[in-house]
C-alpha cells in the first residue's frame, strides 16, 4: 500500500494544484520495466483525465526516492505521494474526482475491478518480467541494472528478483507455469472486456480511475517489446479493449500535444 505523508486533508485541500507538479519514474529508454511503465502511465492518464498538469521526470533512482519504494510518485507542492491508490485519494482531497458521479454499487464495482487488474494483470506482468527465465535473462536484468556500474547492476537485479520470487510464492503464483499465467491474463482480459461491453468507458460516458488503470496496463502490454508476443496477443484478442486503448490515447494524449508514448 502506498505511503501517504501524514497531512491533514484540510492542509491538502488548501493548496491548489501547482503548475510545477512532477511525476518521477525510471529512465524511459533503458531502465524502466513493463510493470513500472504501466503504473506510471496509469497515473499520467488519470491526471490527464482530471485535467491536472503534470511533468514527467525520469530519474535512475526513482525507486529509491519514492516514499513507499514503488514508482511512480508525484511531487506536488511539498508533498510526495506514490502509487495510484493514494494519488487518487490525494487528488480527491484537492477537490478533483472522477468517480463522484457513481452510485454506491458502481463504486464497489470500480474498486473491485481495480483490484482485479492489480491482482491479475500486474502480478502477471511481474511474473513475466522476473520469473520467466527467458525474459529475465534477455531483458529484465539488463534493463534493471543499466544505470549502475558493475557489479552493482548484477547484485541489485538478483536482489530484486529474489524479492519478487518470494512474493510470488507467498501469493501462490510460485508454482505456476507461464501458460497458466497467460491463461490468467486471458481470463482477466475477458472479464474486463465483458464489463466494458460496447461502452466508451467502463462507467459509460465518463472515464474514471479504473479506465486510467486499465489503459495504463493494456497500452503498455500492447506496445512493449518482449521476448515473445504472447502477452500482447492475449490482449489483442479483445477488440473492444483495443478500441478502448486507442480512444484514450487519442483523447488524452495526442490531443494535448504531449509526445507520443513510446
Amino acid at each position: 500500500m502506498g505511503h501517504m505523508v501524514k497531512q491533514n486533508s484540510d492542509k491538502i485541500a488548501a493548496e491548489p494544484w501547482p503548475e510545477n507538479a512532477t511525476l518521477y519514474q525510471q529512465l524511459k529508454g533503458e531502465q524502466i520495466l513493463l510493470s513500472d511503465n504501466a503504473a506510471s502511465l496509469a497515473v499520467q492518464a488519470f491526471l490527464q483525465m482530471c485535467n491536472l498538469p503534470i511533468k514527467v521526470v525520469c530519474r535512475a533512482n526513482a525507486e529509491y526516492m519514492s516514499p513507499s519504494g514503488k514508482v511512480p510518485f508525484i511531487h506536488v507542492g511539498n508533498q510526495v505521494v506514490s502509487e495510484l491508490g493514494p494519488i487518487v485519494q490525494f487528488v480527491k482531497a484537492k477537490g478533483h474526482s472522477l468517480s463522484d458521479g457513481l452510485d454506491e454499487v458502481q463504486k464497489a464495482e470500480m474498486k473491485a475491478y481495480m483490484e482485479l487488474v492489480n491482482n491479475m494483470l500486474l502480478t502477471a506482468e511481474l511474473y513475466l518480467q522476473w520469473c520467466d527465465e527467458a525474459t529475465v535473462g534477455e531483458i529484465t536484468h539488463a534493463r534493471y541494472g543499466s544505470p549502475y556500474p558493475w557489479p552493482l547492476n548484477h547484485i541489485l537485479a538478483y536482489q530484486k528478483q529474489w524479492e519478487i520470487k518470494r512474493k510470488m510464492k507467498a501469493i501462490g503464483w510460485g508454482k505456476k507455469t507461464l501458460d497458466q499465467v497467460l491463461e490468467d491474463v486471458d481470463q482477466c482480459c475477458q472479464a474486463l472486456s465483458q464489463r466494458l461491453g460496447t461502452q466508451p468507458y467502463f462507467f459509460n460516458k465518463q472515464p474514471t480511475e479504473l479506465d486510467a488503470l486499465v489503459f495504463g496496463h493494456l497500452y503498455t502490454i500492447l506496445t512493449t517489446q518482449l521476448t515473445n508476443d504472447e502477452l500482447s496477443e492475449k490482449v489483442k484478442n479483445y477488440s473492444n479493449l483495443l478500441a478502448f486503448c486507442r480512444r484514450i490515447e487519442q483523447h488524452y494524449f495526442e490531443d494535448r500535444g504531449k509526445d507520443r508514448l513510446s
Binding site: 482485479l116 507467498a170 481470463q187
Partner: protein, 467 residues
C-alpha cells in the same frame, strides 16, 4: 422390521436437517456422526436382519434413519446389522467400494474420528474400517442406475474440522465446503485436525476420483466445476466478470486483515486461534504446529503488504483495517437487499464471501474491531446467518457446550477454587507441623509438669523404701 417403510427423510436420532443438503455420499467423519441425509442414495439399513433380508433389499428407498432406531435396539443387534450393511451411498459398484472402503478405513485412522468402529454409535455409513471392508467383500448387489455410471471412486475432501459454530475454522476449507454444499457435489468430507494426515500435507485437499490430489482452493473449485458441479452455471458473462473482480477485492483487501486478526494480533491469537488449534491437534503436533502456522502467516502478510519500516507498523495496521472496513462496506452495498450476490441462487462468489464473513462474525474475538464494524452491516450479517442456517444447520450445534457459557464454568469453578486453595494451605500447614513434630524439631511439653516430678518423687520414695 419394516422394509421400505416411511419416507426417506425421517429424522435421524432427533436431528432433522432441513434445507438443500448436498446429496449423496456425504460421509461425515466429523464430530456429529449422524448428519447427512442422503437424498437419493440407496441405503438399506440392514435392519439387523439376517443376510437373507439383505439380498432382497433393493436398496433404493431405504431410510437410513432406521439405523438410529436399530442402535437403540441393542449393541449386539447393531453390530450384527453393521456387519451386514450393504454399500455406502457413494458406491458405484462393488469394486470401487473396496477402494473407497480402504480409503475410508485409512481416513478413519485419523486421530479425531473415533478410532475403533464402535458399533454403538450410528457411525453407520461410516462404519469401522474392518467392517467396511468386510462389507465390501460381502456385498453382492449392484445398485441399479449406478453401476453403469462412473466406476471411479468418489471425491474426497480433507479439511479442518469445525469450531466456533462453523463447519470449519479455516478460511479455505470453509469456502470449499460451502461451495460443495451449494452445488450438491458428492464429496466424502473428512474433517480432520491434523494436516499431516491429509494427502497433500496441507488442508484443504481434494482427492479426485482419479487419485489426483489438489490443494489450492481455487483449483479445487475449478475441478468441481469440471465435474459438472458448477454453481456459476446461470451467471451471465458480466456477472462472471464481476465474480472475478470481487474475488480479487476480497483477496487484496480482506484477506490480509483476516490473517492479521486471527494470527498476528496477539490477544486474538493466544486466546482464540492458538487455543483452538492446540486443543484440536493431536499430541505432539499441538506444541509446534500452531506456532509454525503463525510464522507462515506472518511472513505471508509481510510479503503481501510490502516492505515497511518498523515505525510504520501501527500506521500500516490502521491502514489495513481501514481498507478492510471499506471493503466490507462495499460488499454490503453490492449485496443490497438481495439474498445472494447474483440473485436467488448461490454462486461461487457467495461461497468465498460467506467464508470470510462467517469467520469474522462467529469467532469470539477479544479484539474485534472489524467484527464490530461487520455487525453494523446488517445485510451482511443476515446473509451469513441465512447461509449458515440453510446449508449448515446442524453444524451450528457442533459448538461444544462449554463455549456457549464461557462465564458459567468459570463461576462454577470459583467456589471450588477457593475451597481448594484453603484446603491446600491447610494441608501444607499440617504437613509442616507433622514433620516438625515427628522429627523432634518441636516437641510438645505435656500439660502437667507438676504431676511428673511428684510421681517421680513417689517412685523414688518407693525405691528408697525398697532399698
Amino acid at each position: 422390521m419394516l422394509l421400505g417403510g416411511p419416507p426417506r427423510r425421517s429424522p435421524r436420532s432427533g436431528t432433522s436437517p432441513k434445507g438443500p443438503q448436498s446429496s449423496t455420499g456425504h460421509v461425515h467423519f466429523g464430530k456429529s456422526p449422524q448428519t447427512w441425509p442422503r437424498r437419493t442414495r440407496p441405503r438399506s439399513p440392514g435392519l439387523a436382519a439376517p443376510s437373507g433380508v439383505r439380498g432382497s433389499t433393493q436398496p433404493k428407498r431405504r431410510d437410513f434413519p432406521r439405523r438410529a432406531w436399530l442402535t437403540a435396539l441393542s449393541r449386539y443387534g447393531a453390530r450384527l446389522w453393521m456387519g451386514r450393511r450393504p454399500s455406502l451411498p457413494e458406491a458405484r459398484g462393488p469394486a470401487p467400494r473396496s477402494a473407497a472402503a480402504s480409503r475410508a478405513s485409512r481416513s478413519l485412522a485419523s486421530p479425531e474420528t473415533s478410532p475403533s468402529p464402535l458399533p454403538a454409535t450410528t457411525r453407520g455409513a461410516v462404519a469401522g474400517g474392518g467392517s467396511v471392508q468386510g462389507r465390501a467383500g460381502a456385498q453382492k448387489e449392484v445398485f441399479p442406475g449406478q453401476g453403469a455410471g462412473k466406476m471411479a471412486a468418489p471425491m474426497e475432501l480433507f479439511c479442518w474440522s469445525g469450531g466456533w459454530g462453523l463447519p470449519s475454522v479455516d478460511l479455505d476449507s470453509l469456502a470449499v465446503l460451502t461451495y460443495a454444499r451449494f452445488t450438491g457435489a458428492p464429496l466424502k468430507v473428512h474433517k480432520i485436525s491434523n494436516p499431516w494426515r491429509s494427502p497433500s500435507g496441507t488442508l484443504p485437499a481434494l482427492r479426485t476420483s482419479h487419485g489426483e490430489v489438489i490443494s489450492v482452493p481455487h483449483k479445487i473449485i475449478t475441478h468441481l466445476r469440471k465435474e459438472k458441479y458448477n454453481a456459476d452455471y446461470d451467471l451471465s458473462a458480466r456477472q462472471g466478470a464481476d465474480t472475478l473482480a470481487f474475488m480479487s477485492l476480497l483477496e487484496e483487501k480482506l484477506l490480509p486483515v483476516l490473517v492479521h486478526t486471527f494470527w498476528i494480533d496477539t490477544k486474538n491469537y493466544v486466546e482464540v486461534t492458538r487455543k483452538w488449534y492446540a486443543e484440536a491437534m493431536p499430541f505432539p503436533l499441538n506444541f509446534f504446529l500452531p506456532g509454525r502456522m503463525q510464522r507462515q502467516y506472518m511472513e505471508r502478510l509481510q510479503l503481501l503488504s510490502g516492505e515497511h519500516r518498523p515505525e510504520d507498523e501501527e500506521e500500516l495496521e490502521k491502514e489495513l483495517y481501514r481498507e478492510a472496513r471499506e471493503c466490507l462496506t462495499l460488499l454490503s452495498q453490492r449485496l443490497g437487499t438481495q439474498k445472494f450476490f447474483f440473485g436467488d441462487a448461490p454462486a461461487s462468489l457467495d461461497a468465498f464471501v460467506f467464508s470470510y464473513l462467517a469467520l469474522l462474525l462467529q469467532a469470539k474475538l477479544p479484539n474485534g474491531k472489524l467484527q464490530a464494524h461487520l455487525r453494523g452491516l446488517h445485510n451482511l450479517c443476515a446473509y451469513c446467518t441465512h447461509i449458515l442456517s440453510l446449508y449448515f444447520p446442524w453444524d451450528g450445534a457442533e459448538v461444544p457446550p462449554p463455549r456457549h457459557t464461557p462465564a458459567g464454568p468459570e463461576t462454577e469453578e470459583e467456589p471450588y477454587g477457593r475451597r481448594n486453595q484453603i484446603l491446600s494451605v491447610l494441608a501444607g500447614l499440617a504437613a509442616m507441623v507433622g514433620y516438625a513434630l515427628l522429627s523432634g524439631i518441636v516437641s510438645i511439653q505435656r500439660a502437667t509438669p507438676a504431676r511428673a516430678p511428684s510421681t517421680r518423687a513417689l517412685g523414688m520414695a518407693e525405691e528408697d523404701e525398697e532399698e
